[in-house]
């Protein structure tokens, strides 16, 4: 399932003409291993005076094109803030975030499918805002919904879907953006374990099929070990990078792989001391 040829991705990747230079050559891009996201000396301060909160302090991180990076940490360590800075939803107080003009898609914890549109219309809107011509949109919507196994359900409204289906719909919308970089902010945190497990399989296969660069925020160690090439452990107060773990396990991975469990256990110990410090 993860070995769908990249030709399919490029032939169907109906991207707007303007930026065709970096277009759909995802798999190739991954081979090139350029830098997709460059975070240098980034600090973020909210509020001022007595109310001042330093959310991030001197964060340096670079993510290679095609890399799957998980940001792992306890609540309040600034991992979501960092993701927002990469997305351009917020500006750093100091330092720079360079995404080299690449296209960025964002998958939120809540599916944020627009409730006034059907599932298909939600995906169609992403295509429309990506300037995909009208004639190409309809078949593309159905194709994307089929890809996330929601084929034939396009007429449903978001509130008529289960939590897992909504997140898969949000995933289809992300794919419709044909982005190079996909940012995910705990997208599966609200899902049950089995649905989440299935979503991991899907994300992994889509990531490798499309050659995406993924930054994935989670507080779940096993999720990080399951998905990432590298896991960035963040500490809080102020938020900064504590340690970076390479996760060199073969793919496709399985949660019950003992090597994965071992890796997760190792990271858990670190996280526990971090959480203890934070709670105390």
């Amino acid at each position: 399932m993860s070995t769908v040829s990249s030709s399919q991705a490029s032939s169907t990747g109906s991207r707007a003409g303007s930026s065709a230079g970096t277009a759909s050559a995802g798999a190739q891009q991954r081979a090139d291993r350029g830098v997709a996201v460059d975070i240098r000396g980034v600090s973020k301060v909210f509020g001022s005076g007595a109310e001042e909160v330093v959310a991030l302090k001197d964060v340096d991180l670079s993510v290679a094109a095609g890399e799957f990076v998980c940001l792992l940490g306890a609540s309040g360590c600034g991992k979501s803030t960092l993701l927002n800075l990469v997305a351009g939803l917020d500006k750093p107080t100091s330092g720079t975030v360079d995404t080299h003009g690449k296209r960025i898609a964002f998958m939120f914890q809540e599916a944020t499918l627009f409730p006034w549109l059907t599932l298909a219309q939600n995906v169609d809107l992403a295509l429309r805002l990506n300037n995909v011509p009208k004639a190409e949109r309809k078949p593309r919507v159905e194709e994307l919904l089929t890809k996330v196994r929601l084929g034939g359900r396009g007429h449903r409204r978001p509130h008529e879907l289960s939590g897992g289906m909504r997140q898969r719909g949000a995933l289809a919308r992300v794919l419709a953006q044909d982005a190079d970089i996909v940012l995910m902010d705990e997208p599966f945190a609200a899902l049950d374990a089995m649905t989440r497990d299935a979503m991991h399989d899907e994300i992994e296969s889509l990531w490798s099929e499309l050659g995406l660069t993924v930054m994935f925020v989670t507080h779940n160690v096993r999720e990080a070990a399951r998905l990432s090439d590298r896991t960035v452990l963040m500490e809080s107060g102020p938020g900064r990078v504590k340690q970076v773990y390479p996760v060199n396990l073969p793919r496709p991975r399985h949660l019950d792989d003992p090597h994965l469990t071992e890796q997760a256990a190792h990271m858990t110990d670190e996280l526990k001391t971090e959480v203890a410090r934070h709670v105390r």
Partner: protein
């Protein structure tokens, strides 16, 4: 894959209606209609009984307080094109004034609301005033309107606008203010910037509040209109308010009550249109079922 364990298999999408969409416990269509209709019928019957009892008690002479029978007979009489005045012309003129005034208010109120919600200085300048204007009873505007425009339709339109515009503007302002940030962020990441942000995210998200504003705007417009027609009588333009006034002056209670029933029914029709619109929007967004109202 394991997903098929947790959710229904999607490899063979169900065709047509989903099974179990309507459970066996759902009451039949006939019962639904009956449940909806009987309280209304009962309410009307009770009102008619009280009316008849009051009339039969000889509380007021006929020309001041007509019986239900006389009123409905009169209503039938004028509605079939008889009577001293042109009933249907009156309905048409009144409704047209209302619709025109409302549409004009809709355009101005929407533009004003968007401008205020987007431009801080304008909000600081007139934001509070718009809310304040909403509390002004529309009849308060009439002396002013008559001074400015004379006893003319323009005075009526003016009062309609002053009543409806603040409600419509306020509806869209609060709708825009309350757009969930999550949708704005999602829209931003989808590339909805500039005017497309409004077209595809802000306006649809603000729609329920906007429709509530429209509904309230119509109510104010309708009240202002009828008040205006009673005060600003233009003899050559038959209108419901004008005829109402004439009926009272001429001591034609059955005429008066018949016209009031017509005005009530027209108002109910309009509010039915708005509430259907609001209910459709709510249902589409899944805002039904387990809600605060019963």
């Amino acid at each position: 894959m394991s997903a098929d364990v947790t959710e229904r298999p999607t490899t063979t999408p169900p065709v047509g209606k989903e099974p179990g969409a309507r459970s066996a416990a759902t009451p039949s269509r006939g019962k639904e209609v009956f449940d909806a209709v009987w309280p209304k019928v009962a309410a009307v019957v009770i009102v008619l009984i009280i009316w008849q009892v009051l009339y039969s008690s000889g509380w007021k002479p006929d020309y001041r307080f007509a019986s239900p029978a006389d009123t409905f007979e009169r209503l039938w009489f004028v509605a079939t094109g008889n009577g001293p005045f042109n009933f249907w012309m009156g309905v048409q003129n009144t409704v047209m004034r209302g619709v025109q005034g409302f549409l004009l208010s809709l355009v101005i109120g929407t533009a004003l609301g968007i401008a205020v919600s987007q431009w801080k200085p304008l909000r600081n300048a007139i934001g509070a005033m718009i809310t304040g204007l909403q509390t002004m009873p529309s009849i308060v505007w009439f002396p002013f309107a008559i001074l400015i425009f004379g006893l003319d339709s323009a005075a009526i339109y003016f009062v309609i606008l002053m009543g409806a515009i603040p409600s419509i503007a306020n509806g869209i302002i609060s709708g825009i203010d309350d757009v969930p940030p999550a949708y704005l962020r999602a829209g931003h990441m989808l590339g909805a910037r500039g005017w497309r942000r409004y077209r595809y995210v802000v306006i649809p998200a603000a729609l329920p509040s906007y429709v509530a504003g429209l509904s309230q705007g119509w109510a104010f417009a309708w009240r202002g209109l009828l008040a205006g027609e009673i005060i600003v009588s233009i003899p050559e333009v038959p209108a419901l308010g004008t005829q109402l006034n004439q009926a009272a002056t001429n001591g034609q209670s059955s005429n008066l009550l018949a016209l009031m029933i017509v005005i009530l029914v027209l108002g109910m029709l309009a509010s039915f249109v708005f509430s259907s619109l609001a209910n459709t929007i709510r249902a589409r967004r899944g805002l039904t079922g387990f809600t605060a109202s019963r």
